[in-house]
Symmetry: C2
Subunit: 428 residues, 2 copies
């Protein structure tokens, strides 16, 4: 449907600064746009996605054909492929973002000083957000909508293999912006496949990009974190732990461990390591390991774990820091909650970690001492998700300690300023 663009180096160096300046130029108008106007655009975008379903699927078929011809793996093709259900889910996602309250202009704190000055802390957009993602076409709609809702201009650079799909989806977003009389440059898609575009974005596009959000695998995130000269909201990996304490109820531990590992193995909130209190090898360790093995999960364990079940393979040092994203789990026995905290401090990735116990003192120690974005007591690590937090939607999970941490929803895509109202106060 859509002719592939030529990927000439000269194009990139001419086009990219222009894209940056256009985004910067509309950022102020977007910051001032009303919630109603943004929601009008989001509703029109969802409608356009549904109306343009055939065009989007045809463009996606082109991408799939190209990817197959160049020998893409089936996992890659699965991420790239769209069908009616996936297009509908994309449109539904925009409806969810539409229904969120407008984060911009919200007064988050307000106080009055003894001299009568009233100070308000009020949310404002960040400015221009660059999103660099792999060949998952749904991110185009998702990221564009989240940036718009939070009053930010978006510059999208999707995987080149999904270029036709992204263009078709982007055209629907543009239709929504037009309907709401918002500037087209509010959501821009890099129109060339050239990989040099990513380098220019990571350098900040002449100071026009305020923050970069990478969406994709570890290689992409590592490149972005290493090369970016602007702030990055990201997590490199999710080495999530479940610690089962001696005081855990076995039925609850089983449910939480099975769900944390096996509900979906490929997401960043999936558990990768099970830690079990050395005090309960028979009552907890053995039945948990048997349950995992019976569920089709490969178990790699330390000596005590291997003693519990002959089917357990030997874990090597690398297994304690492995993010399998697959039906494999590393299992280690630790000396109580202290041992669990020490192990997570050494091998964890500050993403999401859970404790299962009926001992509240142990739970509180775990919750306060484990230094991760999300720490849970008696609940599955798979709740590490903006939707599950009630944020409606998220653009990713951040493990850094600055600005955004945990799920990055529309509020995390804002900054703030102080509004001070006086009656002529001067400072003595």
């Amino acid at each position: 449907m859509t002719a592939p663009l030529k990927t000439i180096e000269a194009d990139v160096s001419a086009i990219m600064p222009e894209i940056g300046h256009r985004a910067r130029a509309v950022a102020r108008a977007l910051a001032m746009a009303s919630g109603a106007q943004k929601d009008h655009a989001l509703a029109a975008m969802a409608q356009a996605l549904r109306a343009r379903k055939e065009t989007i699927l045809a463009a996606n078929a082109d991408d799939i054909a190209d990817a197959k011809a160049s020998g893409a793996t089936s996992a890659f093709l699965d991420r790239l492929a769209l069908d009616e259900k996936r297009v509908a889910a994309m449109a539904d996602g925009l409806d969810i973002i539409h229904d969120l309250p407008d984060p911009v202009g919200r007064v988050t704190e307000s106080w009055t000083r003894p001299n009568g000055l009233n100070i308000q802390r009020v949310r404002v957009p960040l400015g221009v957000i660059g999103i660099v993602y792999e060949s998952r076409p749904n991110v185009t709609a998702d990221a564009g909508a989240l940036c718009l809702k939070s009053g930010n201009a978006a510059i999208l650079r999707g995987g080149s293999e999904s270029h036709n799909s992204n263009r078709a989806i982007h055209a629907a977003l543009q239709e929504g912006l037009r309907e709401a009389r918002l500037p087209q440059a509010a959501i821009q898609l890099i129109p060339v496949r050239d990989r040099a575009a990513v380098g220019l974005m990571l350098a900040g596009l002449d100071g026009t990009i305020d923050v970069i959000v990478p969406r994709g695998g570890k290689d992409l995130v590592a490149r972005v974190q290493n090369e970016a000269r602007v702030p990055v909201f990201a997590h490199l990996e999710g080495i999530c732990h479940v610690y089962v304490d001696r005081a855990a109820r076995l039925d609850m531990a089983k449910a939480v461990v099975l769900n944390s590992k096996m509900r979906r193995t490929g997401i960043c909130g999936a558990a990768e390591t099970l830690l079990v209190d050395t005090a309960c090898p028979r009552t907890h360790l053995a039945p948990l390991v048997a349950m995992l093995l019976d569920a089709g999960c490969e178990v790699r364990g330390d000596l005590l774990t291997r003693t519990a079940d002959p089917r357990v393979k030997t874990a090597s040092e690398q297994d304690w820091s492995a993010e399998y994203l697959d039906a494999i789990i590393a299992v280690k026995t630790v000396e109580g909650v202290d041992g669990a905290i020490a192990h997570i401090e050494r091998y964890g990735s500050h993403h999401t970690d859970a404790i299962v116990t009926e001992n509240l003192a142990a739970a509180e120690r775990f919750l306060s001492e484990v230094d991760s974005a999300i720490v849970l007591h008696n609940a599955s690590t798979q709740f590490a998700d903006g939707g599950e937090f009630g944020f409606g939607a998220e653009i990713g999970i951040a493990t850094g300690r600055f600005h955004a941490r945990g799920p990055i929803g529309v509020e995390q895509l804002t900054s703030f300023k102080y509004r001070v109202r006086g009656t002529g106060q001067t400072r003595p």
Copy 2:
């Protein structure tokens, strides 16, 4: 009193990584330290500063003698010099920080999801904070105490001309840490004068420094912003504006303008540009300009301003982006609140800007459209200060949009994490 240390390159490359690792090693213990323990240390530090007054003043006398011998300016010597009053003020500053509530562990939000999961957002320290400052010895006490209160390890690198003073003050801080049984490495002072130490800090000291806070003039801040490979909390300059609208009460406008410009001319919240509505040259512009001139302030104005008073000098394009930090002001006439907003957008530094008007609609437009960390209505720009905001104390003002913005007090020196409490919830 204290022998100057040798400044050998080899020293720096050996000492610096050790300092970084020591800070990182104690950061976790500091994050877990109770408010009472930190306050015990702060009280003991204040006491030690008072008790060691003579030693501190003698060390400062050495620095002053060295600086005089090397031909330092009187402004430089004034910043460097300590006397009994300044040492007392330093100790009093620690008492103020002591009296602040502990920001660490504070639950800032809490909600329960439909599935019963309770989610808390709770403050945690950032980790290790590097402070790079010029020869103002009081920053040693101030910055060290703010980092401790917020549960962070501090690495201090003060101007080499204040090295003896800093060491004497640092010894008092160490005494306070010892008394409270907190690790000595909680507040470290770089023990060498070598300027290469700053470069190593800006590179993040092998990943051990989480954030850099520069305290000093524009040259220092510019170097830090350009070279730092870790986040920086800072403002490069404070080009603060006061806009006097046609609907301003003249008496209030006079008070706010005079205070914004002349209360202290050398601070970052001092006004540098006065914008006056073109609609009121006689009722507002002329009396405001006369008042400033009579108060000993040099006025550089546009044509209309020069017409208002013959003593006004001609402003050049450079004056609109000048941070004088002196008794000089640039004055420009603008077309109402729109003209003021456009001028500030073009020439401002996103620090602090004020409007004086009785027209609430104009005030609200200014407050929402001027994109600065602090925007004020009918109040002096000199309120741009953590103490005036009720933060108790601040380590600086940030004009960036990420994480900290405006005054950086103990709360801004923290991050947060999510604590999730369940009863066995798994994700469907």
